[in-house]
Structure formats: C-alpha cells, structure tokens
Symmetry: C2
Subunit: 558 residues, 2 copies
C-alpha cells in the first residue's frame, strides 16, 4: 500500500494546491479526443455499454445476490435497457457496511486518499463507457455525458479526496505538551485521531448519476466511512461502474470490497427510506427533489448533506451587446433541456427595457430577442439536438406540455427537436411564458425542464429584490446578472451573497451560468434552502469525522 | 483600524501557529501573581466587584433600558448581590442586532479579528474583577474563578478568533481563472466572500459564565455575525464585563455597539425561547442541561452548537501507585464540587480488584482507598475549601442530600466543608455510592454535583464496554483510564474514540482529567450526545459563514 501512497502523492499535493489557488485546474482532460484518450477509446466504450444491454450486471464484488433488479430505460430510445443489478436487502447492506467499517477506519487517511485516487485512474479508463451509460439513462447529449459523468465528476471526486486528506492531516497526530508550572514542568504525550462517523449513504439523482454522487461518496470514503451508494432507479449504470472500480481497488489491496456497496431498489419497492432510517447510518448525502430532501434533513442523529431544488434567476439590467447576451442565455436554458440544477428559470426584465450601450431597448424587443435566440438554437440541426439532449423523465415532458400559467402569457410554445441519430428521442424545446412580478406564486417553484419564465418588473431594483427573496425563501444554486453599472453590480453581489447564491456577471461567448468548475467554484453554498452541502467547502469533509484526543504523562526523560 | 490590525497581527499569527502545533501555548498567564498582573491588581479587582453590589450595572452601551432586572446571589454568602442589569425586550434586541449586522458583516475578517483581540487585552485588565464576579455567582473557589473565567477563557476566545480568521482567509479573495480551450482561453475574474449567517445567540450556563460563553461568542463575532449574549440569570456579571469590553472597543472604532448585546431575563420570566425562536436568529451556541439543549437542537433553520451533559467515566484496570491514583481522582471529583462538565462520575472497578505493580489489590481495598482520599482532601482545611469551592445551586445540594439509590450501597456520606472565609458558604463534600454493573439505569444519568458512583464490574472488559456504551448513548466529555497494559490501552482508545470521547491515561500528580488546555485539547468532540460543538475544531467556525463566489469575464488584455 505504501507504493500506492507514493504513486499518488504528487496528484494529491497538486490537487490540494489547486483547492487553495482556485485558478483553473483539471486533472482529467475534458476533451474526448482520440489524441488524449486513444484512437479506440470511444468505440470500445460504446461497445462495452452495448454489451451490457439485457444482461445481469456481474462486475460487483458483493457476493451472491438475493435477487436481480433493474428498471432503466433510454430517453433516446424510450425502451428498457434490460440491465439487471444484484439486489440485497437493506439490512444485508447495513450489516456488511458495519463490518467493513472496522477495517476501513483503521486504514490511514494518506492510504485511503491514495487508494481512492487509484480508483479515479481506473474510472478514467472507462470514461467512454460511463458516457454512453449516462446518455442512455439521463438523456444528456454525448458531449455532456462524457464531460459531466467522466472528467468533471472525477475532478470533483479528486477535489473531495484532496480536501478530506488535507483536513485529516492538518493537525498533528501526536505531540509532546509541556507546561511550565514554575518549579517544574508538566509533560503530556498527546495523540489525536480523526474518527469517522460510521456507515454513509449516498442517494443519487436521475440526471447527474456520477457528478452529483461522487463528491459525497469520495468525501465519506476518504474520511474512513464505508459507503452504500443508492442510485436513482432510472440511472444506475454510470455509478455502478464507478462502484465496481472502487471494489476492484479495495480487493486488489486486500481490503473488504463491502467498504463500498451498490444498493439498488427492488423491482416492486424503493429501499431508500429503509436505509435512511437505519440507526447504523450516520451520514447521508442526497441529491434530488426538495420534498424527499426535507425528509432526509429531518432525520435525527444523522449528519446530512443535501442538494435539493431551487429557482435560479437571471437579472437583466444593461449590457454592451444584447444579441450575444440572448445567445448565451438561450444556450443556458437549452443545455440538457433545462434539467440542470444550475439552469436559469426566472428572467427578470424591467418593463422599461434594458440599457444597451447607453440606449434603452424596449422590454418587448428584449423578450422577442430571447425567444428568437431560443428558437434559433433549437431549430439549428447542427446545434439543437447536441445542446438539448433528451428529456430524462416522461413527467418532465408532460410538465412542459401541460403547463398552464394562471394569468401568464405564452411567448414561445415548446416544440419537438429532431434528433438525427435517435428518432424516438424524448425531446422538447424550451417554452417561454411571461409573468407579472406581482404573481410570485407563479414563479417561486422550480419548474424542472425546459421552461423559461420572463418576469416583467418595474425596474432593476425590483428584479434584484425578487431574485434575492426567491433565493432566500425557495433556494437558488446559480444566478446570472447583466449590468454595466458598477453600483448595481455591487448591490447584486451584496444582496445575493446574503441569499447564499453565487452570481455570474455579464457572461457571453463560450461560458455559461450553468457551468461550474471543480477546484475553483464552490458548488451550492449551504446558505439557502437549495441545500446545505457545498462542494468542496472544508465543511463538506470536516463534518464526516470527529477529532478525539488522548493524553498521558510523558515517560520521564532519561 | 489599520493600526489595530497591525498591532495584533503577531498575536494572531502566533495563535494560529499554536492551533496547528497543539503544544503548550497560553497568551494569557494563568498565575494571578502580583509580579505578572501588578501589586494592586487583586485588590482593585475585588473593590471593583464590591462596588457593584446593590447597584444598577450602567457600563453597557445599549442605550436607555426598558427596565432593570437581576437575580444573582452569592453561593458563598447565600444572599442576593443586588445588581440590576438593563432589560430590553427580545424584539428590541433582535431588531438592533439585525441593524448592526449590516455594518459588522462589511468589516473585513482581519479587522474583526484585530478588534476582538483588542477586546481580550481589555478583558485582561479586568481578570480579577471577573474572578470575584465568578466566585460570587458560580461558587467556584478563587483560583478557579480567576483561571477559568480569566486567562483560560480569554485563551479559548483567542483560539476561536484565530480559527475564524484563518478559515476566512484560507482561500483567496480573488483570482484570475484562465481555461485553455484549444484555440483560445476563457478568462474569468473570480471573487469570493465569506458571508456571515446573521444574528447569533449565545446562551450561557450558571457554572462557567465566561469560559463556556466566549468561544461561541468570539467565533460568531469574528465571522461577521452580530451576537446577543443571554447569560444564565444566576451568573450574569462575569460575562456582562466581557460584553462591556466588546462594546467599548466597537464604540472606540466608530462601530455600532449593538454588534454585541447583553440580554437578561426579565424579573418575572425567561426570554431565551423568545430569542431562540426568532426567525432572525441564525446561529445558537448553548451550554447547559440536555433537555433545553435538545430543544435548541430541534429548532429548524438554525445552525446550532451545543454542550449538554454527559456521564464521564473512570476505568480502573492497573497502575503503578494506587495511592497517587486515588489522590488524583479524589481531586478530580472534588474540584468545584463536581460541577464541571469534565468531572468524572462513574468509576468502573472490577470485582477482582486492580493490579498494582503486578499485585492484585482487592476491590474493597481500592474502594476504601478512594473514599479515604476523598475524605482526606475534603477535611484538609488547607486544601478542601479551596478545591471544593461552593455549590452554585440549592437544587444541586438537595440532589446530594436526598440521593437514594435503588439497591446501591453508600460508601461515603456527604458532609459539609468548613470555609474559613465564608461561614455561610453552600458546601457539600462528595458522597460515594456503589452500584452493580447490571443496574445501568442507576448510573446512566448525569448526577450533577459532588456525587461519585463506584460501579462494580466483572472485569476490565465489562468496564470498557459499559463506559463506551454510556458515552455513545448518553454522552461524555471526558474519560480517565488507568492501565499499564498496552493492549488494554489501545482497546480503550479504539472504543472510546468510536464513542467520541477523549481519554486521559494514568494521570497522577498535578494534572487532572477535568482540565482542558486551549490550543491543544479539543473540548467536546461532537461525536456523542454530550453536544455537537468542539472547541476549536475548524467546524466550530466554518459553520458560521458560507462561501459565495462571483465571476465575470476578465477585461481583455491590452
């Protein structure tokens, strides 16, 4: 194991340095090019994925299963993948995890960090397989599937490993404490242990099955807690591959592979609550809807990290080039059909319009420009399908189709998007509605999917006030603002900071409010109802262990 | 303010270094000697205290009060101190705190840290006044009153300031993020703010009015949160003096003195719940009984730090010198009459006795040796009164006097202690009961005060199992163990670490399990029901603010 530790030390050191620099850093290249990943990597990944269809998933090292279960279907094909995963009853999983805890907690933090970094190397070899698995479970387009589930997720995992390793080695393991008492000294030998909390549960979501799962998973593992990974029943395969990679490294190093287990729901019932409510489970990471998230947060005696839902705002005040702004925003709202936790939903536009290079562009012109940009992107056959991807869930599609605003105005109706590769893809281009600022109840809920609300405000002051209020009361994970006025910018920073919401100002070109960079952007702040987890604020790892100290009179000096 | 920052920078740097070294460090000398604090310091402090009796406390800068209230009485005199404090309704306090928040959060962390360090310099000038105030509210003996409420508390406050300052300056305030995209780079200017959570409430206890209050108080303040200090109605004066020192420094620096307010209960009702339940209150630090602590922890939408009660154990297995062990333990159980959160209560002794230098000393002999040591200390006129102090609360005295164990055996009856200075002092020497290990319900509750339970176990294995179980299920803040067996020692470390309980091994001579050193010993682990706060684990400060990031395309390079 010492060899593994040495092998990965420089990666860990670089990652810790990146955490503190917060400049651009990526350990895993995001470009799926043959030059980087090999000429056959894409083909081999696709073939590996295809070979899994209608098969039992037998790669896990969890022993003879109690049954087989699986209910994934491809949003691109709207048919079952037919993959069955080994099923174990919650009690079996818990008991094995408790047993594995005894072993894992005794592995030193530096060794755990090295082993987990080794896992990411293995994961890298399977980025393309994970990409196809992600496409056909989440509906993400190919590029996002590759980047978000592969390199970006692995970087977020490395970030969690690095943060956990740093926090556990930040204080000395032992020291000699010598207190002068006047005539003599009292000398104590002191030691400290970072004591992991116990069995950890990570509950995944259907849209980002690895990206939203690996931070909590690796944060719990690096701090010595055994984990049970409970993916969303519709998006198991991408994370199953990661779990298999963890188990492989554990087994290779003579460790209990049950330190990391995959838990799938039974065919006829969901097991998440059984796992959550087990007294043995001390840590829970959760990504998903607010209702279940609130339930998780209400559980007693658990340390809980959540990423729930929020309503993200765009504040339009003034800019230099409205066309570029419209294109940028159209992309943000269309990317993965608005199924991102960072996707903007509420666009606050003053009824007096937007100041563009000193000239006032009327409200209606701004709205139509946005609508035209959205339509232009959706109907562009070279861009539309690759940006929009597919709709993960039939309910999301229904929500868009059946959307009826009480008193609102439809600005742009949703449409279907022609996907050249997958004729049956479940698609839906964004719809746009206009709402009056007084109708808060119309825009204070997350409308998951490609739905964009234009909220007509009296002025920018009202826009800021409402965006901050929504974030404080209903949560927000991102905010975009366009202003050329330094005072307005400072005001937005001040008010949104109090609402715990990061703000991207004046984005145009190839960078979007939805995007979020490992080692630089903290993801979710914990400062509003959208969730209490923040990747990777030190709090995200510190709360997974406790410091316990021991002391004893030092042996008399000879 | 820049001058203040420079003045205290080296103190802060030294304190941060001490936090990471965890070797002995004290910024404030614990010895109340005239050579250190000046020839008149003690006299002046006593006179300052005496002058406050039967007066209105007019030193605070909180404006015209809505009334006057005070109900302190001296445990040494068993009569009222007659001091009345300015009373403000909870809503007034909250509104002023919310207003002050707007100002305080905009002061930079480095400046806040410097101002608060300046406060501690002012507090140091009043250590003796605080000492007498502590004696006559808590019943602590003079030496403990001085040390715990003065230098030790100030060091714990400095520790919180240093930790908060470090965490807020650990990541850059701004950076340029430049991502290579192949043909071009995307460049963003990024900034981050450590955003304080809002109004903070600190609820004090009756026994350690400054020591248990200042860590949360200074941790909230250094992270930009305005604080409302709500002391126990029977122990206001010591912390009122500290609040006055904070307000003085704030006013001197042109800041709103309501950034730190004292809240006292009305004469006829307690206001703590009103404050706790205000939606404006975002942070609560609490020290006190478990029942109210559980209530505080159950409040929604608050970040809560608690130190509740626990049952602390001593495990006796083997030692080199039983007399020295008995003396050390007798001191620990007698110190401030067992009214310390770190005082041992349950003494686990195997029925087969204790191995002393390879020879088995029978159980009964061990028990009698402990009882003799306790009696010897309590009846020694030169030591007893100075170690035992007085009983803070008549209820504690009643508990000792009326104690009746179901099925237990009385080993030593409580007695009174003759205090040569205060004839009316409320005193009580420790009582000792024997309980069978099977009667868990008899020893699984905290019996606050000078009560010692000897639990007769089958063997050391049972002792360890029960001590760990009690800590896990009912909480523990300290544990003492005596063993010369390396394997037993390792086992105790392992099992107590899982129960989140620090262990002191083989203490004899002038160091005791109750004692807890700033900058070295984490106080409370957060790993068992005794509380979720840990002085000063980084978590103790990190949870008081959120990181919020801002980004914007960087201006084009010229």
């Amino acid at each position: 194991m010492t060899e593994t530790t040495q092998k990965h030390q420089s990666t860990l050191d670089t990652a810790i340095k990146a955490l503190h620099g917060r400049t651009f850093f990526a350990h895993f290249p995001e470009n799926p090019s043959p030059e980087i990943y090999g000429a056959d990597a894409d083909r081999l990944g696709r073939e590996a994925f295809e070979a899994r269809r209608n098969q039992h998933y037998t790669e896990l090292l969890q022993g003879e299963p109690e049954g087989w279960a699986g209910q994934e279907e491809s949003p691109y094909e709207q048919q079952s993948l037919g993959i069955k995963y080994p099923y174990f009853a919650p009690q079996t999983l818990i008991e094995r995890s408790e047993k594995a805890f005894g072993e894992w907690r005794k592995v030193k933090p530096a060794q755990r960090a090295a082993l987990l970094t080794e896992v990411l190397d293995g994961m890298k070899e399977r980025f393309f397989e994970i990409a196809y698995a992600t496409m056909h479970t989440t509906g993400q387009a190919y590029m996002m599937s590759f980047q978000a589930s592969g390199p970006h997720a692995a970087d977020r995992a490395l970030e969690a490993i690095a943060a956990g390793y740093e926090e556990q080695t930040r204080f000395p393991e032992e020291t000699t404490w010598e207190k002068p008492m006047g005539k003599y000294n009292i000398t104590l030998q002191k030691t400290w242990r970072a004591v992991p909390k116990g069995v950890a549960l990570v509950i995944g979501c259907s849209t980002f099955p690895t990206w939203n799962t690996v931070p909590g998973m690796f944060a719990s593992l690096v701090t010595g807690n055994p984990v049970i990974i409970k993916p969303h029943p519709k998006a198991v395969l991408p994370i199953a591959i990661v779990v298999a990679e963890v188990q492989k490294v554990l087994a290779e190093n003579g460790l209990d592979s049950n330190i990391c287990q995959l838990a799938v729901d039974a065919e006829d019932r969901l097991i998440t609550k059984d796992l959550c409510e087990s007294p043995a489970v001390k840590l829970i990471d959760y990504t998903g809807g607010t209702q279940f998230g609130d339930y998780v947060e209400s559980l007693k005696g658990k340390t809980v990290f959540t990423e729930k839902t929020g309503v993200n705002s765009i504040i339009l005040d003034s800019c230099d080039d409205l066309d570029k702004v419209a294109q940028n925003l159209a992309f943000s709202v269309s990317l993965y059909s608005g199924q991102m936790c960072t996707a903007p939903q509420n666009f606050f536009i003053p009824e007096t319009g937007v100041t563009v290079n000193g000239t006032q562009v009327p409200y209606e012109e701004v709205v139509q420009k946005l609508a035209a940009a959205v339509t232009g992107l959706a109907t562009n056959p070279k861009a539309g399908p690759h940006v929009l991807g597919a709709i993960q869930n039939p309910d999301t599609q229904k929500r868009v189709e059946q959307m009826a605003l009480n008193g609102g105005r439809s600005i742009l109706a949703h449409g279907t998007v022609n996907n050249p590769t997958f004729q049956n893809a479940r698609t839906c281009s964004p719809s746009i509605y206009e709402v009056q600022s007084s109708q808060v109840e119309q825009y204070s809920k997350e409308l998951f999917g490609p739905i964009m609300l234009v909220i007509k405000t009296k002025d920018t002051q009202e826009s800021i006030r409402l965006a901050a209020q929504l974030a404080r009361e209903h949560g927000a994970i991102s905010c975009g603002a366009y202003t050329t006025d330094q005072e307005i910018k400072e005001q937005i920073m001040d008010e949104m900071s109090l609402a715990g919401t990061p703000v991207s100002f004046n984005l145009t070109g190839g960078i979007y409010v939805n995007q979020n960079a490992g080692f630089s952007d903290f993801h979710v702040t914990g400062g509003n109802p959208a969730g209490n987890a923040s990747f990777t604020n030190p709090e995200f790892v510190i709360k997974r262990f406790t410091w316990v100290g021991f002391r004893e009179p030092a042996p008399a000096a000879v």
